[in-house]
Structures are given as structure tokens and as C-alpha cells.
Symmetry: C2
Subunit: 134 residues, 2 copies
DNA sequence: TTATAATGATACCATTTTAGTATCATTCTG
DNA sequence: CAGAATGATACTAAAATGGTATCATTATAA
């Protein structure tokens, strides 16, 4: 039962790192040094963040990545969705086939309530709120 | 992000099924019919439930499985722990190595709060509460 | 204008977890 | 003792996750 995968975890850290010098262009190498993340893996992560518009990339000598948004606008939930897919905790495994009988749907209902809480909590977390001292 | 694995899901159903006739001894075959769970897999699940003392087994002709506890005493959290391990949502991946710097620990703190909520909710659910009408 | 430093795209591989099977031993009943 | 049931356990299959490798593209600067 893992709420955050490594992808997301790494992304959060890289972004936190970048948030410390908002205008600076970071190369992947610079980021890996501080964060101890395998370099090619971090590249892949940053490329996705770029596609998502969270980070901006520039190629060539002197290029690298910069934050494209204010930390207070970067939501944890958005990162999780990008790297882990939809924020669902409970996928009804049997798609309606068996549900109706046995006390299974009450279970789903309960799980859904839990899920709603988790998701709304996650949606309240931004990178800004994370780096604003701890 | 899956709160319940198949194991647990199947276990819940099988138990709900058994709870409908508390004194009846169910063979695996009977349970699979109603539940569409692969038979040898369900056997494994029931064997574990037996070891956990949630279900009682009898061998030989006429044997099978019966509930060993009242539904109201069977906690979802206990089933989850049996099949999925400790109720942890967030395992600090880097064991203190990187934590201290960057805004990572605030993240953990937040995740921990979410986890506490989830766990306490789960601990409040019993099979009894699930089958008590829906 | 060319060498080089950077990312873009993408295909691939390794590991771990989850899901499921197979088999033989044991026990109970008739 | 035969057969119907579970006990124990080892194995296999599939999916998800984590990570590599490689070649293409672009920008800079000598």
C-alpha cells in the first residue's frame, strides 16, 4: 500500500530543489548530485514534468530545467496523477459483475469515503506548502 | 495505489458469504461457486484465515470451513494486515539518508497524517458492519 | 561550421509484487 | 480402506515498478 511511488517522490524532491533558486537553470547532473537519484531516471522524470508544463527545458550548452510555475501552484495531487495515474485507491475489480450480492458494496462505499478524504487532503498540498519551513 | 489487494478482497467476500449461515460448514467448492474465485487460490486464502483463527477448518469428508468469530469481531484492518502486511501507506524510502534537507520531511509529515486517518477508519470497519444491510 | 553539451524520444531490461497453479501429504468419515 | 476434504509448500505467470541505453535534436561557443 504505497501512496507515493518513487517517481513521484523523486519529482517532489527535484522540484523542491529547483524551487530554492527559482531562476536558475539546473542541469540533470546538478540535480542528481544533491539528490542521489540515478541520472537517466531523473532525466525521464524531468522530461515528463516538462511535458506537463511544470518545468521548462532548454536544450544545448547551458541548457537544463527551470521551474515553470510558482511552488505554491504546484500541487502534489497533480504530480501524483502525472506519475501514478488517476487518484483512485479502490478500483472495483469485478466491474459490476459480482458486486450486487454479498456485503461487498458497503465495503466499496466505506473505501470510497476513505478515498475522498485522502484525495482532498492531497489536493491541499503544494510544493510551496512543503518548502515553507518544516 | 491500491488499498485492498485481491487476497483481501476475496477473503472479505468469502467471510461475508460464510457469515450468512454462521453454523454451516462450507467446502471450498461451495464458496467458489458463489464467488467466482479460482478454487486453489481461495483454498490458500482460507488456509491463512484458519491460521489466523478467523475461520476454523475440519478435514475429511463433510469437512470444510466455518467462521470462528462473530462477524462483528472481524476487523477489516486485521484481514488487511494478514494479507498485505502492516498498515503503512508511506515507507520512508531512504531511511534517514536524505531526509534532513530539502522539503521532504514536511511531506512525510503530511502523508503520515493522511495515513493515520486512513488507518483509524479502517480499524473501525468490521465484517459485521459490512453485512448489516447496505 | 563544427565540436560539444545539453535535452527529446523511445525502446529495452531488471526487479519486485501480486496472482494463481500444482502436487503431495494428512486427516476424517463411511 | 476408499474417497473427500484440508495442510503445506513449491512453483509459475503476469503486471507494475524501477532503472538503462541509445540515438536524435538543438543550442552554444570557439
Amino acid at each position: 500500500m504505497k501512496l507515493l511511488t518513487r517517481n513521484t517522490d523523486y519529482a517532489v524532491r527535484a522540484i523542491c530543489c529547483m524551487a530554492s533558486k527559482p531562476e536558475k537553470v539546473f542541469t540533470v547532473a546538478e540535480l542528481t548530485n544533491g539528490l542521489k537519484i540515478p541520472r537517466p531516471f531523473l532525466r525521464k522524470i524531468l522530461q515528463l514534468l516538462n511535458k506537463e508544463g511544470i518545468v521548462r527545458s532548454t536544450k544545448g550548452l547551458g541548457g537544463g530545467f527551470t521551474l515553470a510555475m510558482k511552488p505554491s501552484r504546484i500541487f502534489l495531487s497533480v504530480l501524483m496523477e502525472a506519475f501514478q495515474g488517476p487518484l483512485k485507491i479502490n478500483e472495483c475489480i469485478f466491474k459490476k459483475k459480482i458486486c450486487p450480492d454479498i456485503g461487498r458494496c458497503p465495503l466499496r462505499r466505506k473505501i470510497n469515503m476513505i478515498e475522498d478524504h485522502v484525495v482532498s487532503e492531497l489536493r491541499s498540498v503544494t510544493i510551496g506548502s512543503l518548502i515553507k519551513k518544516g
